[in-house]
């Protein structure tokens, strides 16, 4: 089962939920992917040993000047204005390129070829909760961990998320539980994360902001991607009951409530997970997982 932990609004507790869920399932050898490649934070809580590393990126065009006739056809077929032909010169703007390959395919002089443009890195390894002093029932528990990191100054997060998922999840799928820690928002990086998931677990807070952004996130996950959605309310006790009312009206199950509590906020601020701060959450996450549709 592939569970995407998403939210719409940032800072509602996606990583808090995702890391504690992974630790609560550690005897099932889950796979954890930190898909928030702009700001990946799960490693701060899980302390993985990262043993493999590779570049992520996309293919962009390069010009062979001896063949180029400056006909301008490449610039015409590019939908992203990533190539311009000025006089006899072909200018390529890698930051606008989506790596679709249309220019190379359409060049009548075969003057273009593709080269790899790095956008970030992928890393993978494992978390041994027992050895790390994290809550664990036995020393055999293990989480497969991987994360992507977008290079500073690079714009495109989606290819990194796509390649991270392809690297770790076999094309035929897996029987192991997979937890995807999604980025905030509802735009293309979130869609890329949710794509192929079996369920979206939405973490929200009971404030007008939380509700506004939850609605949009549900629109993407349930209405556009057709995923079942379950909701976790974090910082329960602040704000209003409007999130509850919304979930009831939309038929979205609220599977966990995490109260607004000083000890939790301080613990997380220090880099501790919810199951370390309050060990009883392990059973709650376990129960939640087993009850998921």
């Amino acid at each position: 089962m592939i569970i995407a932990v998403a939210s719409g609004k940032g800072g509602t507790g996606k990583t808090t939920v995702a890391v504690s869920l992974a630790l609560s399932l550690a005897d099932l050898s889950p796979i954890y992917l930190d898909c928030d490649v702009e700001e990946p934070n799960a490693a701060l809580f899980l302390h993985p040993e990262l043993t493999e590393r590779r570049e992520a990126g996309q293919m962009i065009p390069a010009v062979d000047l001896s063949r180029c006739t400056a006909c301008g056809h490449c610039a015409e077929v590019c939908r992203y204005h990533a190539i311009a032909v000025v006089g006899q010169q072909v200018l390529i703007f890698p930051e606008l390129c989506h790596g679709c390959g249309s220019c190379t395919y359409n060049c009548p002089a075969q003057a273009l070829h593709e080269v790899f443009e790095p956008l970030g890195t992928l890393e993978r390894g494992r978390v041994l909760p027992w050895d790390r002093g994290l809550p664990a029932h036995s020393s055999s528990e293990e989480i497969t961990f991987a994360q992507g990191t977008l290079n500073v100054g690079a714009a495109m997060a989606t290819p990194i998320i796509r390649q991270l998922k392809q690297w770790v999840i076999a094309p035929e799928g897996t029987d192991l539980p997979v937890i995807l820690d999604a980025p905030p928002g509802t735009a293309c990086p979130v869609v890329e994360t949710l794509h192929g998931a079996d369920l979206a677990l939405m973490v929200t807070e009971p404030t007008p902001f939380g509700l506004h952004d939850l609605r949009q996130a549900v629109e993407v996950a349930r209405d556009q991607l057709g995923l079942p959605v379950a909701v976790i309310i974090n910082r329960d006790g602040v704000g209003t009951a409007d999130v509850d009312t919304y979930c009831t009206k939309e038929g979205l199950p609220i599977v966990l409530r995490i109260p607004l509590e000083r000890a939790i906020a301080e613990g997380i601020a220090q880099g501790r997970t919810l199951v370390e701060i309050h060990p009883e959450y392990r059973a709650r996450f376990r129960q939640l997982f087993e009850a998921l549709p």
Binding site: E39, G101, A154, G185, T186, V190, V220, Q224, Q270
Partner: protein, 293 residues
């Protein structure tokens, strides 16, 4: 006229709380235009309760559409597509609109000319009036592409208005992360106000957003939020900022009255709690950037 952008790296650190507060405080001393460019989770309007003035369509990006009557199910399009957006069928193929990047690579390979590119209706942008000045904001449709383009559009429109009105300040509430929409939000800014939080994740993400602002040569001022959650971390952030010569411009304590004020659609600075006091001090520190070159 100065253009300031409020950013954070990590989501949920308090960008919009700070934006609403600075709008309130700035409106007392200068002429102001506001823009909310967190286009997939636009929340400033929830605090400022604006009166909507105009609504505009945002058409951007394209979508491949296969005519089933002309499709011969040869599979060339699916082979050309690098985004797994083409779904095979026995009689005709079709396009998954959420995966399609609008590159048109498929159209060049289709032997029967069955694929056409159609412009997408990708969102809306709005002009509104608030107590503190005009607000430019937007809504990217769920799962939308091109959030960077919508960010740029909203910011340009707000900037034109600020020039027309001879405003002293264009205050831009930015998105989380460091990728495409953040880069679009940073461009042209005279100052990036970075709201960080005194947590393990906040400190980690601060480094990447400061690197991004530095990469694009935008001066920064850092506000440390939620400082009493982890005072040691707050001090570590101060030391880190000092080491990289990123000036601190405020220290903001946890304060529940903030959520209560926001739930009433009011900036926290109208209350007299500790956060309000700290934000008044922060404004005094930031104000000098209005007159300096």
């Amino acid at each position: 006229m100065k253009q300031w952008v409020i950013l954070s790296g990590k989501g949920g650190t308090g960008k919009t709380t700070v934006a609403a507060a600075l709008a309130h405080l700035a409106a007392d001393t200068c002429r102001l235009v506001l823009a909310d460019v967190d286009v997939d989770a636009a929340n400033l309007e929830l605090v400022l309760a604006p009166t909507l003035e105009t609504t505009h369509e945002f058409k951007s990006g394209e979508l491949a559409v296969i005519d089933p009557a002309r499709c011969i199910a040869c599979g060339n399009c699916a082979e050309a597509c690098r985004f797994e957006a083409i779904i095979p069928g026995e009689i005709a193929y079709h396009v998954d609109p959420l995966s399609c990047e609008g590159c048109a690579a498929c159209t060049y390979r289709c032997p029967t000319g069955a694929i056409q590119m159609k412009l997408r209706d990708a969102g809306r942008w709005f002009t509104s009036q608030t107590r503190f000045g005009p607000l430019y904001h937007a809504h990217l449709f769920a799962g939308g592409e091109n959030s960077g383009k919508l960010v740029t559009l909203v910011k340009q429109m707000a900037r034109l208005r600020a020039l027309d009105d001879e405003a002293d300040l264009l205050l831009v509430d930015g998105p989380p992360g460091i990728g495409c929409p953040v880069i679009a939000a940073l461009s042209g800014a005279d100052l990036a106000i970075i709201v960080t939080e005194a947590t393990a994740a906040g400190a980690h993400d601060l480094e990447r957003i400061l690197d991004t602002a530095t990469h694009f040569r935008v001066p920064v001022g850092v506000l440390r939020n939620k400082t009493d959650r982890n005072p040691a971390q707050a001090e570590a952030i101060a030391a880190y900022c000092a080491a990289r010569e990123s000036p601190l411009r405020g220290r903001l304590p946890d304060d529940r009255t903030a959520i209560e004020a926001m739930s009433r659609a009011e900036p926290v600075t109208i209350t007299d709690g500790p956060l309000s006091t700290a934000l008044h001090h922060a404004w005094e520190a930031l104000k000098k950037y209005l007159s300096s070159d």
